[in-house]
Amino acid sequence: MKLIHLPMPLMATAIAYGMLVGCGSYAPPNESLVNSQASVRAAQEVGAQNNPQAALHLKLAQEQVDQARQLMGDGDNKRAEFVLLRAQADAELAVALAREASARGEAQQAQDELKSLKNGDHR
C-alpha cells in the first residue's frame, strides 16, 4: 500500500527492479542443491532405506532434488530453491527416523538381554 505514496518514477523503478529480481535474475540455488544432496547422502549412510518410514522420506527427498534440477534447467530458480528446501527437510527427517529406529532396536536388544539374564537367574 505504501508504494502508492511514492512518486511515480520511483515506483516504476521499484516495480521494474522487483520484476527483475522476481523472475529473470533469481540466482540458481546452488548452495541449497549441495546442501540437500549432502543430506540425502547422510540419510543413505545411516541406512534410511532399511526403515520403511525413513525410506519414504529419503525417496521424497531424492525426487524433489531431481525436480529442482529440472526446474533449474528450465530457469525457474525460485521454485527450485523451495523444492530443494523441501528435499532437505525430508532428507533430514529420513536421517532422524533411521537413527530413531536403530536406537529403538538397540534399546530393545539391551532390554531383552537384561530380561533373559534375569530369567536365567530365577531358574
Partner: protein, 283 residues
C-alpha cells in the same frame, strides 16, 4: 488532497477485498497437517526431551502461517507449510531417538549391575561350597582319626586280627565280667566304647558277638553264661548306637577254645568275647 483521499478510499476497499480473499482461501492440507504435527510435538514427549527442535518447528510453522496470511494460494505457502510439517516430525523423531537411547542406557546399566550382583552371588555360592567341602573333608578326617584312635586303644585291651570271618576283636573275659557274672564291669564299658567307635566307621557291616568260656563246670551252665555275656555286650553296643538289626549274639560255651584248658593261663585266654565284623554279603 482530494486525490489522496480517493487513493486512501481505494486502499481501504482493496484491503477489505484482500481480507475477504484471505478468508475465502482455505488453508492448504500441508498447513493443516503442519499445525496438527506441531500441536502433537508441543504437547508431548518431544517438547520435554527436545524443546530446541520443537522451537525450530514453531518458527517454521510461524513462517508458513505468515506466508498463508500474505499469499494463501501460493506454491511457496504450501512449500513453507510442508517444511514446517517435516520440522515438527523431525522434532518427534529426534525425541523418539533420545528416549530410546535413554532406555538403552538404563537397560545396560541394569544389565551391568545385575551381572555384577550375579557374579557376587556366584562367588558367594562358590565360597560356601568350598567351605562346605573343607568342613566335610575335616569331618571325614576327624572320623578317620577317631576310628584309628579307637582301634589303637582297642589294641591295648583287646586282640584285633583279621581272619576269613572278617575282623575279629577278642576281649578278655576278665576285662569284661566278674567271675560267673554276665553284667559288664565298668572297665568293660570303655573298652566297648572303642569297639563302638570302630564299628560306626563300618556301618554296612554285620556283627556277631560270640561268648566263650573255659571248660570248667557244667557245659549247659557255660553255654547259658556265654549266651548271657554275649547278650550283655550286644545290648550295651546297641545302647551306644549300633543298629540292633546288624548285630546278633551267640553263646558258644567251651566249644571253641583258643588255648589249653589245662593251665590257668590257657583257661583265662579261653574266657573271652569275640566280636566279628563281617562284610555285608556274608551276613
Amino acid at each position: 488532497m482530494i486525490r489522496g483521499l480517493q487513493i486512501r478510499l481505494l486502499a481501504g476497499v482493496l484491503s477489505v477485498g484482500f481480507l475477504v480473499g484471505c478468508g475465502s482461501t482455505p488453508p492448504p492440507k500441508e498447513l493443516i497437517e503442519a499445525r496438527a504435527a506441531y500441536q502433537k510435538a508441543q504437547a508431548g514427549t518431544a517438547n520435554q526431551v527436545n524443546p530446541a527442535q520443537v522451537h525450530v518447528a514453531k518458527e517454521s510453522l510461524d513462517q508458513a502461517e505468515k506466508a498463508y496470511d500474505n499469499s494463501p494460494g501460493d506454491a511457496e505457502t504450501r512449500d513453507r507449510a510442508y517444511i514446517a510439517l517435516r520440522k515438527a516430525q523431525l522434532a518427534e523423531a529426534q525425541a523418539g531417538m533420545m528416549v530410546a537411547e535413554r532406555d538403552r542406557e538404563q537397560a545396560q546399566k541394569d544389565l551391568q549391575s545385575t551381572q555384577l550382583a550375579m557374579g557376587k552371588k556366584t562367588e558367594r555360592e562358590l565360597e560356601t561350597a568350598r567351605h562346605q567341602l573343607v568342613s566335610e573333608h575335616q569331618a571325614l578326617e576327624d572320623e578317620r582319626r577317631r576310628t584309628k584312635e579307637a582301634l589303637d586303644n582297642l589294641a591295648k585291651m583287646a586282640e584285633v586280627k583279621n581272619d576269613q570271618r572278617g575282623m575279629v576283636i577278642t576281649l578278655s573275659g576278665q576285662v569284661l565280667f566278674a567271675s560267673g557274672a554276665a553284667a559288664l564291669l565298668p572297665a568293660a564299658m570303655s573298652a566297648l566304647d572303642n569297639v563302638v567307635t570302630a564299628l560306626k566307621a563300618n556301618p554296612d557291616r554285620s556283627i556277631t558277638v560270640e561268648g566263650h568260656t573255659d571248660s570248667v563246670g557244667q557245659r549247659t551252665y557255660n553255654m547259658d553264661l556265654s549266651q548271657k555275656r554275649a547278650d550283655s555286650v550286644r545290648t550295651y553296643v546297641v545302647s551306644r548306637g549300633i543298629p540292633s538289626e546288624i548285630i546278633h549274639a551267640v553263646g558258644v560255651g567251651p566249644d571253641r577254645p583258643v588255648a589249653n584248658n589245662g593251665t590257668a593261663d590257657g583257661r583265662a585266654n579261653n574266657r573271652r568275647v569275640e566280636i566279628i565284623v563281617s562284610p555285608p554279603e556274608r551276613k
